[in-house]
């Protein structure tokens, strides 16, 4: 008995000493409830929806999410983070909604969304593990109730003045297409797949019977502020066996001309791999896009106008490669607020204007109009979207109310040959931070 007590004490001492090098543990998270409703009359199979009014069950979607994360400073200057995300409908599908925001299932699911270690050596930081990424063509989409993450290794170096060099290897991800953003599995399965699988899904849908291979991705980049008033970035990607890609961007502060004035330019080129062309027995063109943006900010007001154009025969969207080829968000300046996959589609010319205003003590307001016009080579699918959003925080509760008007040729159609009618949508975003 005495021996047992001693062993217990020894174990406790061992436990304490094992954690003695763990410092500054921070535990935080949030709980979300998102709801949306539309007065759309026809579903994607051109069937008339019975209860198609706003707030009707048939045209509403809702879901809850829970995020919990802990960061800590570990021994030898290593920093670490673990985070979990859980999705649940809370049973809303029984009464109020008929669809969900993310994950593709009404069952409750959870997964480790982050689990990484980072260490800095001089001017170089190495971050390894499951993490969120924010690069132009492979990133975590945060517009939805849950964001996709990556199993990756990222090296960042700051030896050159005002310049960050980036090298990344992306092994796996849980990105999913068709606006779902995250792929989930139930019963404790692993929802992460080899990076490129989301593209693979779509390509195999387009080319039935073909075996599209995926093997992760590499990326290198330089982001510099060495040029006066300019942030310039160059990214190169190799999505193994699928495509290589370039992304060039320069954002210039024109305060010498007029304080608050900015100008930006983007160019992207996604070049399908010869291995992919061979597998699909098809010669594929590059997907190219360019965009420019003029911005102006003064005190609490921010205005922007942008224009973009994509190449006529691009086989893929100039958008996030982590979430497939349908409904992926794009980093092009002209990207719509809600309807993704139009601006970045081939043969599309888009213009966008937006205004943000922070009315102090009242709320943050945002208005955006996007008009994407596609040529006949690309499919002749036009889309116009107008969004008005207001955000306000009440203590730890963040709220956003949004109104979206959409008129897209391929939505709300009576038949395959009809151009879709416009419809209204209202969304409510509630997030409690803790």
């Amino acid at each position: 008995m005495k021996l047992a007590k001693l062993s217990l004490a020894a174990l406790m001492a061992l436990g304490v000493s094992a954690f003695a090098d763990v410092q500054n543990i921070k535990v935080s998270g949030d709980a979300k409830l998102f709801y949306g409703t539309a007065d759309v009359d026809y579903d994607e199979n051109y069937n008339k929806i019975k209860d198609s009014s706003l707030f009707g069950k048939s045209t509403s979607y809702g879901q809850a999410a829970f995020d919990l994360a802990a960061t800590a400073d570990l021994a030898d200057g290593v920093k670490g983070k673990v985070g979990i995300t859980a999705l649940s409908t809370l049973g809303l599908e029984n009464n109020l909604v008929s669809d969900i925001w993310a994950g593709g299932t009404t069952q409750t699911t959870w997964w480790a969304s982050e689990a990484w270690l980072a260490k800095t050596f001089g001017n170089t930081t190495v971050k390894v593990g499951r993490q969120y990424l924010d690069t132009p063509l492979a990133f975590s989409e945060k517009w939805n109730i849950a964001a996709n993450s990556f199993d990756a290794a990222v090296v960042l170096n700051n030896d050159l003045p005002q310049t960050t060099l980036v090298a990344a290897w992306i092994g796996r991800g849980n990105g999913a297409g068709d606006y779902s953003v995250v792929r989930t599995v139930t019963n404790g399965g692993d929802s992460f797949r080899t990076y490129g699988s989301a593209i693979q899904d779509t390509l195999q849908g387009k080319f039935p019977g073909k075996n599209v291979k995926v093997a992760g991705a590499y990326a290198v980049a330089a982001v510099t502020k060495a040029i006066p008033y300019t942030t310039a970035q160059v990214w190169y990607y190799d999505v193994v066996d699928i495509a290589s890609a370039w992304w060039l961007q320069a954002d210039i502060d024109l305060k010498e001309v007029l304080p608050g004035l900015t100008f930006g330019a983007q160019y992207a080129d996604i070049n399908p791999a010869s291995k992919l062309e061979k597998e699909l027995s098809t010669k594929l063109d590059d997907a190219k896009a360019w965009a420019v943006k003029l911005g102006y900010s003064m005190d609490n007001l921010k205005l922007a106008a942008a224009y973009s154009a994509t190449d006529k025969k691009g086989p893929v969207l100039v958008a996030n490669t982590a979430t497939g080829l349908k409904g992926s968000q794009s980093k092009l300046y002209t990207e719509a607020w809600w309807n993704y996959g139009y601006v970045s589609a081939p043969d599309t010319k888009t213009w966008m204007v937006s205004a943000d205003y922070n009315m102090e003590g009242i709320a943050d307001f945002m208005a955006q109009y996007t008009s994407a016009n596609q040529g006949t080579t690309g499919g002749d699918v036009d889309m116009q979207e107008f969004t008005l959003a207001a955000s306000k925080s009440f203590g730890n509760l963040d709220t956003t109310l949004a109104y979206i008007y959409t008129k897209a040729d391929d939505q709300n159609q009576k038949s395959a040959t009809d151009k879709g009618d416009g419809y209204n949508m209202i969304q409510v975003y509630l997030t409690y931070n803790f």
Binding site: T125, T135, W143, L156, T231, S391, T400, F434
Partner: protein, 183 residues
Amino acid sequence: MKRSLFAALFASALIAGNYITLDNGKVIELRPDGTWQEVKVIKKGNETIAIKPDGTWEKVESKNIEVANKLETNAEAKFKDTPLVQTLIGTWSGDGERYEFTKDKVVFSVKDGHRTKTISGKWSVENIDEKNKTLTLNLAEGARLGFLTFGGEIRKIKIIDDNTIEDITGWDEGKIVTLHRVR
């Protein structure tokens, strides 16, 4: 007997009015035996009455209910007077982020997808890297148990000049946000 009655009355006169309103709006009574209890303060006509947990009540002068002074701990005050930290005081905005620093409080808002995430509360400086002009800030911490903290956020800010700062918190995700002072 007479003396002890006088002493008791004198003591109760001293004790009356020993009520304090806390940050959260609750009112407590500090008792002479070194303990405290929460009381409920109500208005009855023109009179203010404190209702105690033991069922008794007492008339109090509302002007005698003090408001608790704000406590600034050593951790909160640490580094606050250094020139680098003093530069932070004010409002900063840029690329979807906004900071409003006063000496004691911060309001931080950031575009996070389609929502604006806002964190507000006390702030403290965890670390200063004078060489790189970089501050590690602990914003709106909810609670602290030794080295374990709950809620809020750790942000890393680099001071460029009096009118420009960089939020380098997302540096390891390749994200650096430049903010300018809002006048």
